[in-house]
Symmetry: C2
Subunit: 426 residues, 2 copies
Amino acid sequence: MDSYHVVVVGGGFGGLQAVQQLKSAPIRITLIDARNFHLFQPLLYQVATGGLSPANIATPLRSIFKRQANVQVLLGRVTDIDVEGRRVLMAEEAIGYDALIVATGSSHSYFGHEAWGSYAPGLKTVEDALAIRRRILLAFEAAEHQTDPERIKALLTFVIVGGGPTGVELAGALSEISNHTLQHEFRNINPADARIILVDHGDRVLKAYAEDLSASATKTLERLEVTVRTGAGVTQIGPDSVTIEENGKEEVVPTHSVFWAAGVKASPLGKLLSERTGAELDHAGRVQVQPDLSLQGHPEIYVIGDLAHCPDASGNPLPGVAQVAIQQGKHAAQVILQRREGKPIKPFRYHDLGSMATIGRSAAVVQMGRLKFSGFFAWVAWLFVHLMSLVRYESRALVLLQWSWSYFTWNRAASLITGEARSEDL
Amino acid sequence: MDSYHVVVVGGGFGGLQAVQQLKSAPIRITLIDARNFHLFQPLLYQVATGGLSPANIATPLRSIFKRQANVQVLLGRVTDIDVEGRRVLMAEEAIGYDALIVATGSSHSYFGHEAWGSYAPGLKTVEDALAIRRRILLAFEAAEHQTDPERIKALLTFVIVGGGPTGVELAGALSEISNHTLQHEFRNINPADARIILVDHGDRVLKAYAEDLSASATKTLERLEVTVRTGAGVTQIGPDSVTIEENGKEEVVPTHSVFWAAGVKASPLGKLLSERTGAELDHAGRVQVQPDLSLQGHPEIYVIGDLAHCPDASGNPLPGVAQVAIQQGKHAAQVILQRREGKPIKPFRYHDLGSMATIGRSAAVVQMGRLKFSGFFAWVAWLFVHLMSLVRYESRALVLLQWSWSYFTWNRAASLITGEARSEDL
């Protein structure tokens, strides 16, 4: 084992791939993450809607790398980077590096309205998902106690801001819950009375997809009784209402359940890197990287995934999706080895393997290059790709079993309200 | 449907059974619980040790009763009982009853040392289990950062107070984690160096069982490298140490991980009922019930399960176990119907179906009347009984699959640290 030391910060799709790529290299690797698990974020909406448990879509980082002897996993938060001294700083220690890969991703952005955060949770972490789940289920529970029709209507109104894949998937799952899962479970209210409103300021949902797929997604959502309001913005969010602006007119919609799927901002390590290295940031706080994913003047520092602003062939930044992060993780790891060995360095090229989003329980849209399809077979493809991508073989089997069961029974076994009320206070 | 209204407070083993028993009765039932799920508490230690997810051992109450049309489930906290007016009071509403069953169970008691609660969590709720899981895993994570052998030793010391089934099961699972699950996962520390100390003030563990079973349990625990300290008490618990007193000598053990499995106290509704009806409480706050489980002078109020002080044939109070609660739930429901129909009322008789506790992954002790056995077959029996008792068929299949996988791989897939550190702060 060599003393050459690569530090990877962040165990998401990018960081994980980078570490795995360095498996057989005669170097030492340290993987630092503030969480002890890798999270399969594309299925987080299933945790938020009670279909899956956090453990179904998360795998402890240590268990992933227990057989990879050249990596040490450290649970911790990076507080600063000493670029001159080549050290990352944590609360009580400093860790030197020869090469550094920063892959700490993004969180949601309220576009300057940070106060909205407490009324309209986003969906990035396990805790976010459990908070959304709690809100959805508590809204139905509170409605069951009410007699005032206006109060019931407000409680059963769910507004999702943002028509990207997360917003569309959340809306579809909410429709499934209200129209099927909760059927026969209440005595005072009819869960199917729930109104689900999907708001997007653009002219169509899923705008990263082809137009006919957007149209097909909208049609599916409407069949699921989701109100799709494109060309509409949100101007105010409070504890018991949201203000939707459309064609210059404002409408106050009484609701306690607003979910945020609209914007992302880069992890704060982006700003830190910019201050320490002079690297430029884009409007979302992402770090502009060189063609090989390193920072200008710092061939030993790489930024990948959602934290990186990396242009595609036509100059647009690559989207913040798992495939980009995975391919960049692989590339950064390769460049580190090539540079060490004095080999020529290639610029990063993204190979678009396509994208897919699911809408409810048996429809999806899939776009792979020129191939585009939607409906049931797209959903089966979505299921297959997502199941196969879960890190652990065990998770795959369990999630498949759980989904098969849920599919035929409309059940969502993980519909537990946790983290708040406690039985001993009863 | 009659207008006769039975209110059941608490959806644990007792309350669930009472409601199910009234399935075909021409009456109206309201089941009130502060949580939206029934929790299979005997397996909570598996959640605490990362073997299972909360959803594996919890079932939403609404989904249990969706097909039982005569019951309405209400999520809420009972704040008072108007005994004269026959109403239970909640935050914003009052619900009248003709008969009332109170089954709100117990929480852990620190015997007057309530300040210990923040250092030594107990194991009664899903949140307790996740807090214990977080502490166990964070102790190993923190140790991996350390170089000082004394600090590492303190971090890898786990003290469990109380040698009943919960304490024994927790100690066994902790041994499995440190000796097997975490093997190869760390680079600085050896998880097998962890010390697990089980403290009990009595002269043997599992004192509800026969003496030879206690001896066999102690032998199994020692084989699992658990230090069993019977005849020892805890006199102080702080953030980084516990003081153990044995034979008049005190020893300060540096540790950050003390878990409380020692005492229980009745739910606060016991005290409330005593104030409102004059019913007597025992030292643990349990309500003294009449032979038919009703309260003296209040044949319309029943107390069952862990909240009830109900003597057995020899005058000792029945233990706080699931079987007692289940049989009492059934009995109280029957008495309510018999009283309505003017039929003769029988006193409650407990049929002891035996008890079992597991120690680690392939040993258990079983006691059924005169039949006593321990070891692997006891463990298989334990597995069978507990799997069959899980409310949902789906849970049984999933838990069996998850256990089979864990058994052969020593894996604990649910080893996620949640609820504290968040990746966006990284």
